[in-house]
Symmetry: C2
Subunit: 448 residues, 2 copies
């Protein structure tokens, strides 16, 4: 892989990489490093993080500890034994049956397309979607699978460019006549991407299903196969054409919850049922081989109205308020060319009163300020307290029941469509993909 | 009320306030404004927001609409009829019984100490804690109540100074021998204050109970009386000495949940059971006149170890990461004299890889960077993925299962205790008030 013009391999580059290559060593092989002073280190060759110095070689010693050995060109590296290879082998894919729905599986990275490094216990992206399809032969009963890898990134590294690339690829797949699309995706920011696709691919004729896993696919507790089967099932057979996230509904392997792309967040760092619909019930639950629609009001598969509206601005920001926080960060953003912000205010949508004059000045200069709540559930209502009303008078747009993350993505999308504050406010509050303005919200805080 | 040297009353100041006073008019009175050009406006005198021009008088017309009338000293203002007064009257307080526990109720503001303006439907702070005690005579059965108003602020306007003032007052109340303390507080940032008091007043000999309401006390659906009774019950009789939040446990008037001050957040903008324990069960549930402890491991009432550790720095910030966000905001904060930040990263505690060199540079210059998760539940674990490990190598401190808001408050507190990064890391990860490092977390996402 070339990074900034420098070839890197497993964290190694430069002369050290050349020495490793000359020795014919692979990661996991047993190697010996001899230095001119006679010192000698024996261990398994490890990959290393990007912050290690260029001349450091990482070895796992027989006692299990990793050490970094400083190497210079006068040292000698010898490969003395082949490493144990991962037990992770790919069986031949099962024959695909004709007559089944055609589903495209597009890999974008994440744990669902990763493996645990058998030497370090660390997880690294490695497995392609094709591997996964081979590894989950049940998929061939559900659909004719056509898999490809678009890219393989940790989802925290995604930017608006990745959202745009995925949306464009999905659009072409739809034009190619597939019956459904599955995107494997890192879970960290899957809900942001789901929102981005919801605004870009409106009323799609087929399901567009994002799926990830919280445990990598070669661990016994992995949810990768179960989630992938659920996602392919939904892509192939669900009666709706919408952008959704399909993930474990509960801890056990009983059901997959199908969340609307604009109503879902990752609510737990590690549990398998980390994704929850917020301010909405899930769209559907897949359990025991049948899909139960929990919301009967959906855009039907094959329905009209498909709109492809691509493009995002990276000049929108999300700012979470806390007690004592000053409003200067808004001025900083405006000075740096940002055109708008979504504030995660407190409660019904508040910030300290001393923010009000700053916000007023910014909105008068054409800077968009939208208000969401840092309470995870509920809707903002800025007409209850004086502070809220004064914020509205200062030009703040109250974002109703829109999730802060979704509001940020929508603002990034809307900024490519207009630069008028009035039109931005109208766009932000007009539902595009059921992201705002539900008339009733589920009461209470427990999510499904 | 004097604000910045200018007297204000219901939003009015200067010559207009003098004219209103000269007319003897109160808010809600029917008044007539006559201008020299002969134009005449009749309506109810309304309070007004701070952003109105100084010369504007707000009237509610008989058709229900509010208008702003520009007034100059040549106009005439006449009071023609008294307004209907709020139906909110204060009955005489019941006689207090001797032999009951002594509870101090301290007002700091918020909806629990507010009323709905009967003319506008808006909510404004108005009622003192004394009023509330008079209005909830049942309190006299529970305890000998001694009420006072420390200040009356919207809680979104709180800063570290208010936390310090409350803590100091509570310390004195404890020294005065009260059996428990109740703080009425706006709900918006009640959880931040609860964390601040938890770090300042460690192992207190009596319960310190924060309480608020989601509906103001003169609305039929108000939770003010119910919550206040629960809070006084806990302050007077609970077997523990800890800082807690006492609020409705469910929608109905059945139970009050008692949350630890470092394990609670406001999770819903409006519902009565908005406060939830996160990464912990509630400490206790008060229902049917008895308190059920859900955690038997607590600091006992009257127990040893009371420490008063006052003081917060306002040089710590909270930053929520989102896809595509650049690391420049960290440099901006450092340039402005901030000494540390808590990042709400994605998933197990991640940000984009391009943040890593910036973070490394900052931590090397003595700037603290802690990592919490924007997933509401779970704990960060930065040893699973390469990005996490590289962030740790860059000097990031993983904040385990600490809530981001609590971590921010703790960092503000810790910065007053040390400036060594090593000592800061140690302080942040050493439990002071059970805020970090629980060995087991409740699974799943539904809170109680």
């Amino acid at each position: 892989m070339l990074v900034s013009g420098v070839e890197r391999w497993e964290g190694y580059s430069g002369f050290l990489l050349e020495m490793i290559r000359a020795a014919g060593a692979e990661i996991g092989d047993e190697v010996v490093v001899e230095r001119p002073d006679g010192s000698r280190f024996r261990g398994l060759l490890m990959f290393k993080g990007e912050l290690s110095a260029e001349n450091v070689l990482v070895l796992k010693l027989s006692n299990g500890y990793n050490i970094g050995v400083a190497v210079d060109p006068s040292c000698r590296i010898e490969r003395v034994a082949a490493g144990r290879r991962p037990a992770f082998t790919r069986p031949p894919p099962p024959p695909q049956k004709s007559g089944l729905p055609r589903v495209k599986v597009i890999g974008t990275g994440g744990t669902i397309a990763s493996r645990v490094d058998y030497r370090t216990g660390a997880v690294r992206p490695a497995i392609s979607s094709e591997d996964l399809v081979s590894l989950v032969p049940e998929l061939s009963e559900l659909a004719l699978i056509d898999a490809e890898v678009l890219f393989s990134l940790y989802s925290e590294d995604f930017t608006v460019r990745e959202w745009e690339a995925i949306a464009e690829r999905v659009k072409r797949v739809i034009e190619d006549g597939f019956d459904g699309v599955v995107l494997t995706h890192g879970t960290d920011t899957m809900h942001y991407t789901a929102a981005a696709l919801s605004f870009t691919l409106q009323n799609p004729p087929v399901p567009i299903v994002l799926v990830g896993s919280q445990r990598s696919s070669d661990r016994p507790s992995s949810d990768a196969a179960f989630n992938l089967m659920g996602a392919v099932w939904v892509a192939a057979r669900a009666p709706f054409g919408e952008v959704v996230v399909a993930m474990h509904a509960w801890h056990s392997d009983e059901a997959v919850a199908v969340h609307r792309g604009t109503r879902v967040v990752k609510m737990h760092t590690s549990s398998r049922d980390a994704f929850k619909s917020v301010n909405a019930t899930p769209l559907a639950i897949l359990s025991g081989g049948s899909l139960k629609m929990l919301d009967s009001d959906y855009h039907a598969r094959g329905g009209d109205g498909f709109v492809y509206a691509p493009g995002f601005s990276d000049r929108a920001a999300l700012v979470k308020f806390y007690p004592g926080m000053g409003p200067e960060v808004l001025e900083y953003l405006a000075d740096r060319g940002f055109r708008g912000v979504v504030i995660e205010g407190t409660g019904l949508g508040h910030v300290a009163r001393r923010w009000i004059p700053v916000i007023k000045r910014l909105t008068e200069s054409g800077f968009f300020v939208g208000m969401a709540s840092q309470c995870r559930f509920g809707r903002v209502n800025m007409r209850v307290y004086n502070t809220g009303r004064d914020l509205l008078n200062a030009g703040v747009v109250e974002l109703d029941d829109m999730l802060a993350e979704v509001a940020l993505v929508k603002l990034m999308w809307a900024l490519r469509r207009t630069s008028s504050l009035e039109e931005l406010a109208r766009l932000m509050l007009t539902p595009v993909a059921r992201e705002v303005g539900s008339r009733t919200l589920p009461q209470g805080v427990g999510g499904v």
